[in-house]
């Protein structure tokens, strides 16, 4: 019984504790901001792992989908609930922000999932290096499109999302942003875990092993690829939406190829096809970036060096393609996570 609910319990305790400490201001805003970006990074790295790890494709335009999610959810949110010089007065009463907020983020995710078709459809015919170039191109397309839409700020960026956060906090005095980031992070990992362990997910792994063989074994590869790409980019969109609301400002320049590379690094650091590896590496990477701050410019020598050392001695990443439970089998006694 306890084993069955231990994960739920521990998550609720950890989440509740963080939110409580933040509310009582025991945790400083600085630490909270690092924790929130950690959540965003976890969603990003796990979702990219779906494509790069589980399905064995190489996508390097993940930040593009994040950009779609960020823009859609912020534009929609500001249009509906905030005073803005582009959209004018709010369409709905700002006191409903609290209920609509998760929907806004989800809509951003759905929009990003459809943007994922940009990569999914060409993937029927190409794979490997060629598909990698397509993902790269899609990242550029998305950024250029947004840069050229003057009405939403273009290369100047878009802002006004902070009004929604303050509207939520006015309604119920809680640190809402950390709460949403935490909930969405847990939701995304849960969804990904369910997806991968489903029958459908077995098809994803089959494509990774051998696409032709999978096709022969009656796996509908095109369908699976489409859905996997859409799920992965949809998650990136959710991460983007959260990212935009944490910052209160989006700029297409924040989602360039460098951001995509950062996510790639997290995936490979954690290990391919390992959810817990991606989570661990996202946490580690975020903390490392903050801890090494005093080194300033030397930081960018130390971090790549650490990566090289890691790849030298552990080329499969921190976890390899195993989960936490495979490395420490005794842990399985205490939890069950599906």
């Amino acid at each position: 019984m306890l084993r069955r609910y231990s994960v739920h319990l521990s998550l609720a305790t950890v989440g509740g504790l963080i939110i409580y400490l933040a509310h009582q201001e025991y945790l400083s805003l600085y630490i909270m901001s690092v924790l929130m970006f950690m959540g965003v990074n976890i969603i990003l790295s796990t979702s990219l792992n779906l494509v790069n790890g589980y399905m064995g494709e190489f996508s390097c335009g993940h930040a593009g989908f994040m950009c779609v999610g960020a823009y859609v959810s912020s534009l929609l949110g500001v249009w509906l609930f905030a005073n803005d010089k582009v959209f004018g007065a709010p369409l709905l009463n700002p006191k409903y922000t609290l209920y609509a907020f998760p929907l806004l983020i989800l809509v951003g995710g759905i929009a990003a999932a459809f943007a994922g078709l940009l990569v999914a459809i060409p993937s029927y015919k190409t794979r490997g290096d060629y598909l990698a170039i397509i993902t790269l191109a899609s990242n550029y397309i998305i950024i250029s499109v947004i840069e050229n839409i003057g009405a939403i700020g273009g290369s100047r960026g878009f802002m006004g999302m902070k009004q929604l956060i303050s509207a939520m906090e006015k309604r119920v005095d809680l640190p809402w942003m950390p709460i949403w980031v935490f909930l969405f992070t847990v939701f995304c990992i849960w969804l990904m875990r369910r997806y991968i362990s489903s029958t459908f997910g077995k098809g994803v792994t089959a494509i990774c092993q051998d696409e032709v063989a999978a096709e022969i074994m009656s796996v509908n590869t095109n369908k699976i690829k489409t859905i996997t790409f859409m799920v992965s980019s949809g998650m990136a969109g959710i991460a983007g939406g959260l990212f935009a609301y944490i910052l209160g400002y989006v700029n297409p320049g924040s989602f360039n190829i460098l951001k995509s590379t950062e996510v790639l690094v997290m995936v490979y650091l954690g290990g391919m096809a390992s959810l817990s590896g991606s989570v661990l590496s996202a946490i580690l990477f975020t903390i490392l970036l903050e801890l090494l701050r005093p080194l300033q410019i030397i930081k960018w020598i130390v971090i790549p060096l650490l990566l090289i050392i890691l790849m030298q001695f552990r080329p499969e990443g921190i976890m390899g393609n195993r989960e936490l439970g495979d490395i420490f089998p005794k842990l399985k006694k205490f939890y069950r996570f599906k």
Binding site: S28, L29, Y30, S33, V34, F37, S144, E147, N148, G150, G154, S155, R156, G157, M159, K162, F243, I246, L247, G248, Y249, N251, G253, S254, L258, L289, E290, L291, L292, R293, P294, L295, Q296, I297, K299, W300, V302, I309, F313
Partner: protein, 389 residues
Amino acid sequence: MKRLLTTLSISCIAMIMAVPVIAADTIKIGFNLEMTGDIPKVGESSKFAAEMLKADINGAGGLEVGGKKYKLEFIYEDNEAKAESAVTTTLKLIEKDEVLAMIGPNSTKQAIPAGQVANDNEMVMISPWSTNPDTTFNRPWVFRAAFLDSFQGPMAVNFAIKTFKAKTSAVLYDLSNDYSKGLAEVFKKLFEGKMGAGSVLAFESHGTKDQDFSAQLTKIIAAKPDFIFLPDNYNQVALIVKQARQLGYKGEFMGSDAWGSSELMTLCGKDCVGLHFSTHYAAAGATGATKEFIERYKAKYSYTPDDVAALTWDATGVVLKAIQNTGGLTGKLKKDRKAIRAGMAAITSFGGITGNMKFNEQGDPIKCGVVVQITKNGEFAFNESICPE
């Protein structure tokens, strides 16, 4: 192997722990700079200028506030030219380092979100370089040291009418560059307002990565304007001017502060000699404090300071002046930050090396710009100072 890893990790931790010991009676000011990432040169210039100012003041015994001398301590943080990193950096400076005020970030992409955080947490922030109106708009705690983009429009119009005796003009701008587009539109409106509708004979645009401008230039040259307004980045300016000269255009060009890179003359050569553009300050032909700053900077870091360096020097100077205006620090963080905000508002005129400035209610400076002319040696020589009307 294991030992090696242990040694590595221990040395890493040791480096992290090696935080400098803080002496009593210091004033801490944070710098949120782009030291790595896309534009490391910008962060470096800022840091160098700030280091020079700190050495000056600490060498003279420190900053006198309310009859007491304080040593300055500048904390430089790298925001990696990323928006999210600029936010965490700002929060770190506010909460962990407990600085009194923050200089930077320079680039708009970082300055807007960082300004939000500084404003929410009630700490004075001043961006030396950001020219986007949103950085300071409706944010009483956020200031800037550079004039807004839109101010360069009237500068160019007034200068051209006065010096070139221009009655007609043409504009070529970069469509995907917001700075260029905004400036071109402001210019067109003002010029037509002064010289009558239709006096801008051609209004042409190009893309960021374009290399060939002959189609637009042919059209412009055929219209025979008195001069061409070119609010573009220096690398495109070099190409455009060269191609215009090849097509037989002999007239004037007028540009904006994006021309002001030392790379311009390397790319453009003799074709650009004699052209004018508006900018924040002129390095060649400078006098007084500006000249002294340029010479000392050059001697110390062996290159001519760009506008970021000069603007950082002024931004830091403004903050120090505001601290002096408080008339004495209490040592209580919140109270002192509030006093500094009041001190910023109390500045009636600050004599900086980029000109005299004071702040309007939005935290934007009211200051003069300069028009410079490119000399034969490739220097940007002072030609005329233009002030807001």
